[in-house]
Every structure is written in C-alpha cells, then in structure tokens.
Assembly symmetry: C6
Homo-oligomer: 253 residues x 6
Amino acid sequence: TAGMVGADLANLANEAALLAARRNLQQVTMQCFEDALDRIMIGAQRPLVLSPEERKITAYHESGHAIVAMMTPGGDAVHKVTIVPRGQTLGVTQFMPTEDRHNYSKNYLLARIAYGLGGRVAEQVALGEVTTGAENDFQNVTGIAREMVTRWGMSNSVGPVFYGADREVFLGREMSLGQQREYSEQTASMIDQEVKDIIQERYQFVEGILSNNRPFLDKMAETLLERETIDANDIAAMMRELHLEKPVATASR
Amino acid sequence: TAGMVGADLANLANEAALLAARRNLQQVTMQCFEDALDRIMIGAQRPLVLSPEERKITAYHESGHAIVAMMTPGGDAVHKVTIVPRGQTLGVTQFMPTEDRHNYSKNYLLARIAYGLGGRVAEQVALGEVTTGAENDFQNVTGIAREMVTRWGMSNSVGPVFYGADREVFLGREMSLGQQREYSEQTASMIDQEVKDIIQERYQFVEGILSNNRPFLDKMAETLLERETIDANDIAAMMRELHLEKPVATASR
Amino acid sequence: TAGMVGADLANLANEAALLAARRNLQQVTMQCFEDALDRIMIGAQRPLVLSPEERKITAYHESGHAIVAMMTPGGDAVHKVTIVPRGQTLGVTQFMPTEDRHNYSKNYLLARIAYGLGGRVAEQVALGEVTTGAENDFQNVTGIAREMVTRWGMSNSVGPVFYGADREVFLGREMSLGQQREYSEQTASMIDQEVKDIIQERYQFVEGILSNNRPFLDKMAETLLERETIDANDIAAMMRELHLEKPVATASR
Amino acid sequence: TAGMVGADLANLANEAALLAARRNLQQVTMQCFEDALDRIMIGAQRPLVLSPEERKITAYHESGHAIVAMMTPGGDAVHKVTIVPRGQTLGVTQFMPTEDRHNYSKNYLLARIAYGLGGRVAEQVALGEVTTGAENDFQNVTGIAREMVTRWGMSNSVGPVFYGADREVFLGREMSLGQQREYSEQTASMIDQEVKDIIQERYQFVEGILSNNRPFLDKMAETLLERETIDANDIAAMMRELHLEKPVATASR
Amino acid sequence: TAGMVGADLANLANEAALLAARRNLQQVTMQCFEDALDRIMIGAQRPLVLSPEERKITAYHESGHAIVAMMTPGGDAVHKVTIVPRGQTLGVTQFMPTEDRHNYSKNYLLARIAYGLGGRVAEQVALGEVTTGAENDFQNVTGIAREMVTRWGMSNSVGPVFYGADREVFLGREMSLGQQREYSEQTASMIDQEVKDIIQERYQFVEGILSNNRPFLDKMAETLLERETIDANDIAAMMRELHLEKPVATASR
Amino acid sequence: TAGMVGADLANLANEAALLAARRNLQQVTMQCFEDALDRIMIGAQRPLVLSPEERKITAYHESGHAIVAMMTPGGDAVHKVTIVPRGQTLGVTQFMPTEDRHNYSKNYLLARIAYGLGGRVAEQVALGEVTTGAENDFQNVTGIAREMVTRWGMSNSVGPVFYGADREVFLGREMSLGQQREYSEQTASMIDQEVKDIIQERYQFVEGILSNNRPFLDKMAETLLERETIDANDIAAMMRELHLEKPVATASR
C-alpha cells in the first residue's frame, strides 16, 4: 500500500479537514492528517484484544517488514509501524514513497517483494514458528512477481513477451468470462518457474538481512510491545544506537 | 468446528437467554449455555435410532477424534464427546479453543488435521472396517492442507508463493464463473503432491497415536456406549486412571 | 436402488393406503404394500411385448444380479426378481436392506458393485453375447467406485484425501457453472486408474461367482422365463435344492 | 436410421391415412404406407438434378451400404435402395429391423458400423475416388463406437466403466454448460484409441466384403443407375443370380 | 468463393434484372449478369487508390491464384481476374464451377487448397516479399483441410472417424457455449499434424507450379497491371501463346 | 499507432477546423492540424510533473523508439518525439507512415516490432535499469508477432496454417464465450516458441542498433530533456551532424 496518486491526496486533505471540524479545531493540524491517513489506509480502530502470544508474533511480523524495508536499497521509506489492531489487520507497517512515481524500476519492485516477505521471515527466524498471518503478503508479492514476468519483461528466461490477459467487466465485476488462456501449458509452466525463482531468491535475501540484523529485529519488536506504535524518527534513533545505515541503491541486476 | 469469534459468542448468549426464558428460569444457568452451544453447533436433537453396529462404529469414530486431540500437542482441548445423533451427524466431538486466535500457526493446523483424521483411523485400527462416515472429515482436512500449501506458504517445496483464487459472487452464490486457473498443470501437480504428503504424514502419525493408546481408545468407546455423552472431566479421569498425560507443544518442524 | 430412508417409508405407506382405498379394501393388505413399493420404485406397468430372445437375455441378466447378491457376503438381501417390463426397464431385481444404515462400510459398497455388475456378466457367461442393457448398471457402479476413491478415502494409492467437488444450483438445476477442477491431470489420472481397478477386480470376482454357480444361474433364468416373477422364498428354495448357502461377511480387505 | 419405436409406428399410420385421404382412396394401401415412410424418414421429394458423375458415385455409395448390410450377419435387413434425391440426401438405403428390439447386442452394433462405412468404402474400392458424401455416415458410426466404449462396456481395454456425461438443458437446448469432463486426459486418450480401433477394424472388414463382392457391387450400382430404386426382392434376385447368400450370425467376439 | 447453389443463381438473376431496369434496357444483357455477379460476390466498387507497390503485389497475388487453378487438375475454371479494389479486397480471382456439385471429391478439395495458397506463393516466388494479404486465404484453406481430416475421413492416419462438434445457437449467434471438446489432447495433436501436413504438401506443390511457370506468372501480372481485369478468354490466349495446357485430372492419391 | 485510414483523416480535418474556429483564425493553419493530430492520438495535455529521474528515463525511452525506427529499413518515418506527458503516457514517439498501406509486408512488421522494443532496450543500454513503462510496448509487439505466426503464415516452422479464433460479441463486448481453442497443446507450444523467437531475435537486433548508436541516443535524450519536443527536421539535423543515414530496405528474410 505504498504510494498515493493525486486523487488520494485530495481525499486525504478532505478527510483531515473533516476530522478537524469534528474536533472543533481552528486549523487542520498535522495530527489530523496522520489520523486521516490511518482511516483511509487501514480503517477505523476496533476494540480487539490480542493474546500475549499473538501480540508478540505480530510485533515480530511488522518489525520484519520494517527492517527489510530499511535495509533494502531502492524501496520506500518506512513511515510508521503499529501493532494496534484495526479493521481486518492485527498490525500495520506504513510506507512513505520517496517520490511521486509513475513507472516502477525492477530494483524497486524487487525491494517491495523483499519487505513484503519480511513479516513471515521474521516469524520464522525469531520465533521458529510460522502462522497464517502472511497470506495477504504472499498474495501481493506473488502478484508483483507475476506481473514482472508476464507484463514487464523483467525475467530473462521469459523475455520481453507479453503474457497478460485483458480482463472483461460483466455485470459490474471484472472477470474473465470463459476467456481462454492464449498461451500453452509449457509457457505457463515456464512463467510459474520464473515467478517462484524470483520469490525464492528474495526470500533467501530477506533471511540474510534478518539473520544479520537480529539485534535490530529484537529491539524493534520489544519497543513495539512496549509502545504499540513507532515512527520513522524512532526507527532512525534505533539505527543510530545500533550503528546501522540504510544501504544505497545501485543499478539493477 | 473449533473456535468461535465475537459474533458467535453474542449469538450464543442470546440463544442461552432464550432457552432460560422458555424454561421460566430466574437466571441463565450454565446448562442453558451448554444447550445453546449444542443447538448452534449441531442443531436440534432428532429421534434417530442407530443399529448396535453403527453405535459401536460411531463410538470408536468419535473416540478417535477425541484421543488424537488429547495426545497431539498444540491443538484445541476436547470439550465434550457424544454419540447422541443430532441433525445430520451420528456423533460429535466438541472442542474448546484454548484462546481467542486470529491467525493460526503451522503446528496448530497440523494438530487439527491430525484429530480430523482420528475418526477414520480409529475405525480401521479398532474394528478393521472403514465406512463412509469420514467424508466430511476428509473434506475439512484436505481444505486445511490445501490452504497451507497454496495460501500460507507452509510447504517447503511449493514455497512462499500464493496460488489461491479470488472467488466471484454471481447471482448471490460464490463461484468462479469460467475463471481460468492462473498456474500451470506442473504447479497443480506439485501442489497436489504436497497436499497428499501432508495428509499422509498426519495419517501415519495418527495411526501411531491410536495404536499406542489402544486401551484408552477402547475405554472411551465403551464409556460412550454406556453413557452416550462424556465431557472434559470424564476424559481427564480416564487419562489419570491410565496414567496418560497430554504432551506439550514444541516449535514447528 | 437398495435402501429406503424414513421419508420413503412414509411415502410407501401413503401409496399403499391409496391403493387400498381404490380397491375398496377394509384394511391395507401386504399386497397393497407390495404393489405400492413396485409403483414407487419401478413405475406403472406397461403393455410391452419382448421378443423371446430379449426375454431370455433379460432373465439371465436379472438372475445375474440376484445370484451375485446372494453369493456375496455383506450386501443386501434379494427381495424379488421379475422380468415383467415396467416403465423404462425390461426387468428388475429388488433388494431388501438388512438394516436401516446411515453410513456404509467398504465391504458393503464392494458388494453393491459386485451385484451391479452381475447382470452383464451373466449375459456374457451364459449367452456369450453382451448387450446395451447394462448401461445404467455401469453408471451406478462407476459412481460408487468414484466416490469410494475421491470422497471416502477407500483407495490405498489415493489415500484419505478429498477430491470431490461442491455442486452449484443454477436456475434450479445442479450443475458446475464453469467451476474449475481443483486438482491436477496427474491426480485425475490416478483417480481414474483406481476406479477402473476397483471395478475390474469386482468384475473378475463376479465372473468367478457366476462361472462356479452356473446351474443356479440356469435354474433361476428358466424359472423366471416360466413364472416371470420370483421372491426371496423361491430363491431360498432353489438354493436348498442346489445345496447352496449365502456366505458370511468377514472384515474388509 | 434403422429401427422404429411405437410412437414412430403411430406417426407412420397417421401419415399413411392422410396420404390416402388426399388421394381419395377408400382404404390405406400399402403404397400409402411406403410413401408415408419415405416422407417421414427422408422428407418430401425435390426436383434436384444430379450430374452423371454424382449419380454414379451415389449409386455406388448406396450399393455399398446395402451390400455390406446383406453380407454382414446380425444386422438389419435392407428394405429399399434409391438414388432419387430427397431433402438433404442424394440417395438412401432403408433398413427393415428384423424385430422390435429394446437393447442392442454388440454384434448388432458392429454390423451397423459396418454398413454405415459401406458407402465410403464402395466409392474407394470401385471408383478410386472419395467424396464428402460420407460425413453423416462417419458421424453416426463414430457415435455408436464411442457409446460402445464409454457407456456399454464393450471395449476390453476400457472395461465396464461408465465414462458418459449427463447432458443439461439450458434455455431449451441440451448442452453441457461449462460442465467439466470428469475423467483424465489419459483416459480420454485411451477412449479415443478404442473408438478408432473399432472403426478401423470395421473398415478393413468392409473393404474385404466389397472387394470380394465386386460383381454384386457393380451389378447393384448399374441397376440403380437404370431403375433409380430397388427393393428387397430385387436384391434377393440379384443374389440368387450371383449365387450369394446372407451369412448367419454367430456369437460375438 | 467458387461454386453457387440454386438460391444464389436466383439471386443473381434478380440482381441482373434490377440492373437492367436501372439502365432502362429492354432485356437483361450478359453485361448485366456480369455486373450483378460482381455486386453479389465482391460488393460495390469503392474509389480506393493503391500505391504502385501494392498494385504490383496484388497483381502477382491474384495471378498466383489464377495460374495455380489453371495448372491444377480437378479444380474449378477461372472466370475473371481483377485488381480493381472493391469492398474489403484489393483484388479478386473469380471461379466458374464446371458443374453443379453437391458433394466434393478429395481431389477437388486438394485443388481448392492449392489455388487458395497460390496468392501467397506468388508473392514469395516472384517478389521475395510476403504480406498480410493472404490471411483470408489461409483461413479458408485451413478450414477445408481441417474438415477433410475431422469430418470427411480423408486423412489416412486419422481415418474414417468423426471429430467434428455440433455448434449451438445462443442469443442468435452460433457458438459453443462451454461445450467440452470430446476427444483427447493426443487426438487433437494428431489432427493438427495432419492438417499441417496437407497444407504443407500443397504449398510445395504450388511452389513447383509457380516456379515452373514463371513466364506465365509474369505475363499475367503485367497484363493485370496494364488492363486491371482479364477474363477466361484472355487467360486462354496467354496459355496458347506460351504453349501451355490445363492438365487432366486423374484418380486421387 | 502508426498509419491512418480515410475515416481518421476526415476526423483529423474536422478537429483541425474546430481548433481554428476556437482560435478565431481565418483559415486552418498547419499548426491546427498538428495540434488536432496530437489531441486525437494522445489526448489533451495534463499538468503532470515528472521527477528528474523519470524525465530522464522517459527521454531515453522515447529516443530508443525513435532511433530504432530511423535506423531500421522498411518501417515508418518518425514525425515527432515528445516527453510532455499527456493522458496516460509520459512521452510519445509519433510516426508518419510513408504511404497509405492496406496490407503489411513481413519486413514492415519486423521493423515495427523493432522500434516497439526500442524504448525498453534504450533504458537498459543507457541507464542499466529497466522499468514498467514498456508494458504497452510489449503488448503491442507480442500481438504483432502472434498474428504473424497464427494468421499471416510468416513463421517457417508453423507454416501457412491459420490458427486464429473468431471473436464473438456478447452484451456489446468482444469476447470468446467459452469458445474452445481448436488446436492442440502441442501446436500452442509451437506457436509460443515462434512468437518468442521472433521477439527475441528483434530484441538482439535492437540492442545492436542502440549499442552501435550510443552517441545518437545520448544526443537525442539530452535534446529532449532541454526542449521537451523534437520533430523530423531536428532528427535529420542530428543525423547529419553525426554523419548517419537511414538504411535502405532489402527483401525479407
């Protein structure tokens, strides 16, 4: 959920103004914007009580997303990490895109896959136990990798060939009404292999980052368990304390 | 049918209050809650008469579920076992989730598959005869194993790739209206193999438990044939008598 | 068409009462029940004239069903055999389930497959000529074998995995509206092989029974050609005369 | 188009009566029945003029059907052969079923496949040139062979397994609305091979008949070119002249 | 677009009469018929200007169709060749069927495939450059070859088996609404191979004809570029001049 | 988006006239036509601000299209190149077809594939980083290559066989409503291989052109970053300065 387009920003401003009005404020404060952003991107808070075990898993899961994002060159910056449950999610890591992008580079996409996988890998590395909480992460990550291979020519073995499908809208829903896949089983198998290779290379990359940054991971998880929400400044402070720096992006593979 | 969410609990309280009202009670007794839980989860009693042979098979089948649940670390606790037929079922083993979970660990899911298979294995181990009564168990168990492999990244050979499908709602029914499976036959075959491997590993695990706990199995089945319904206290008493203890969960494979 | 559930019995009683009323009887006689059962399960009589050759084939076909049922342990008892054509069928073998079953054992299902195949095998063994008359038998037998393999975990090589499909109802008809088969071609092939193996094992079993009981087969066919309809008592008398006994069921394979 | 059921006979009688009325006849003559049968089974005559070459091909094509039927044991008797074009067809060979059948033997079905192929084989054997005129013959013959294999258990390698599909009616048309084929590609391939084997065995059988009966074939074709229509008596006369006899059916393979 | 049935001829006569009326002629002249035929088969003229290069390609393309038709035994006679663009087409080669056929011989179909391919082969042989202009030719030629293999039993390796599909009409359009292909992938592959073999054999045959008749090809193309339209007499004159004769048909392969 | 048909030209003239009217001009100037062409082919301008990095990537991407078009014989001429974002696109390279074509030669199609790939290759060659901006290019290029193989007989290994599908219109949308692909998996695989081979051969061809013309590429990108839009005259001036010439087309492979 990184990146906002113009319409999103207008919506955000409007929502922030509404909040200021409801709170009888003279002006729209920065806090209004923060809360409006939360409402738009996550939904309203709900009074959900997690067990201590689930809070701990969630703290490590979100820390995993955030730390991989911090330690991977070329991705978005982390804006806020929270384990206050809202809507359907037990925790959230928010990103702040560094600039208003229209196209995405392969490097950037690989970075997004990496921090998408960070939650699950953190559970595994730190707790030795994996949960169903990574389902949405896997769906997003697989979607990006599949489009890299089938639409964006970013796989060497598949090459600059387009294997996407036009989606039809039927009775107001986007669906493919009996549309036959145009390519062969052999091609489908090659695409699957590439998608899997991309994700597995990233998974190992992320395992390396989180294994090598175990103290950072433990510290962030502990801090989240204490304070529930941390922001970019808190993370920067932790990194200074641990003598860590965000690596710089280089040209793509 | 283990686990209840908030809405279920509200429904349960309401149903219990209705029962108390119908019975002209001053307060909602624990018995009202028990009966309400039964009504919600199984349906109303029906005057169905089983043959002695079917009663015996059912007693062993339900005992199989219950004993595997007791002897498998990481699963839900058994709440009640009954061979009083209600609704569509000849017997029921009810579980009491140990805590209010939102995500599920791989260990927990493997435990659920295990006691899902316990009914059929008990028929086979104790009676040397298998029946069609395990159809729903197989459907549930296969569904869990398939989601472990295709949505939750819990199979090493398939990896953290998402192979699920979005379901469409058409004319008020969830269905996939001509939606093409996105992945290849080769991937489908790999997924099938993993699902089968998970279930067969669990089946052998369950055969081990029930073969090694034959006296427990016979005792529970006999008790059920005598008393029709037993609860957690009855099972705890049997286990003390047989010097058995519920094993403690360790980290997942 | 073996086995009746409660609703069927209510329907039967009602139909018998109607017949008694139409015949101005003071009470519902056993004959009314017999005729009502015939009407429900076969349809009204029609004045159809078979050629001598077709009568002979039909007599052997029905005798095949009946004799295999008598000589296979664990199946239903034969109630009546007739070659009076009714509705769409040239002849019928009626079964009387030994008890009110809710689940079915593997042994029982194998017995039903066996006597389902008995009609065709009798044509082949006794007349050396096979006909299209076994189409419905093959459809029923294949349906049972397929459910044994895909829903009831009764095939060792396929195992306790559920490969059934939920059927949708669309415009009042049960159909699978574009629903994609969830499993792979490789699994489909394995299922087909198992279904075929079960049926072919049963076919050879039935060939053995009918070859070894040729005098019984000839006698029953001749009797049917003479008297058109025989019942359980007639069959028992034939068996006594031929010094034959129904074998006793043992535990399943 | 061999064989008529009861409803067909009623229809025939009705049509014959109508013809008699239109012709102001006192009674329904045999000729009325003949003409009514033609109208029902072929359609009304049309003033179509064939080229001499097409007349010759048609004469050989129809003679092929008729001679194979005469020389194959177990099939229907030939009633009439004509090269007067009617409806969509350039010529017709009518059969007279020997008795009112309800089920069909494998021998009978193999005979029908044989004389269905007789038209094309006659073109090839006698004229060395094949035409599109056999399309309907191939469709009928393939349909019979496919049902022998998939519904009637008449193929040894496929066995007594049912591979047919229930057809749905949707918007008043019988169709399979997205219904998934239940069996595997491997089974489909085995079925195709069997269907092809049956038809090719029959094709060679028919080549043998027509090669060995070349004088009969030439004589019937010449007679048709002269007289346009011949009946069972004419054919019997030709056979007597050529010292030929219809072979007697023996037990099936 | 060779061949006309009775209804077409009636339509032609009608259209010719209309043209005569519009032109205030006393009788329907041969020119009226010619122009009516053009209107029916090609559409009204449109003021389309081709570049010199496209005119040259079109001249060779149409000459290719015409010369292959002239030099292939068993096909239709050429009636007229034109490079005056009309409707959707840049040029047209019209054929005059030698007789009113109802069925088609394999020889005739092979001839039609040959001259269908003649346009593309002429581009390649004479200009060394191929264009998209042959799309409709390929569609027609492939359709004929596929029906030869799947409906008309004209391929030895596929044999006299029918692999066609009945088409359904849904909402007024002919389509196959989810209808499952009845045969296997292996059969589909065999059919494809046969279709391809037929077309490629014909392609080489046509390459031989046009390479061996290069002077004829150049002469006809040049004449078309000069006079835009030529008829059967013009072609006959060219052939006399070049000492060429149309070969006579022999029996099919 | 190269090439305009008659209707497009009429539309263009109309649009230019409207622009002239809105600007109170006495006559339709060439500038009106230019702007009208832009409106029709790209859409209205939008005030979109690109980051310096995206402007640079876009400049190289568009230069890649333009330079490959200039250096590939047989394609269209470049009319204008711009990095002013409009509608959905960040930049545009407009082509001016050299003549009004109705059919397309294989050479021309290969040239279009080449300059379609030029954008992505320029990103890779000059910046060492690839982006999602080539998605539409890949879709167009793959569409052309697929039609070359399946409809236009321009692949040697697939040959002059038509593998296209008729598209149906349903509820006002073109779609294939459950239409079964007529050819086999093996053919589909062969088609995919050919499509991929064509595109990969072109990709290497384009890599050669852009590697060998690096100074031209850098110069055009720099000029675009300075002036945002350049036309055919600007490009011709650059080529003269760099002593480059457009190569002449030769016969197709």
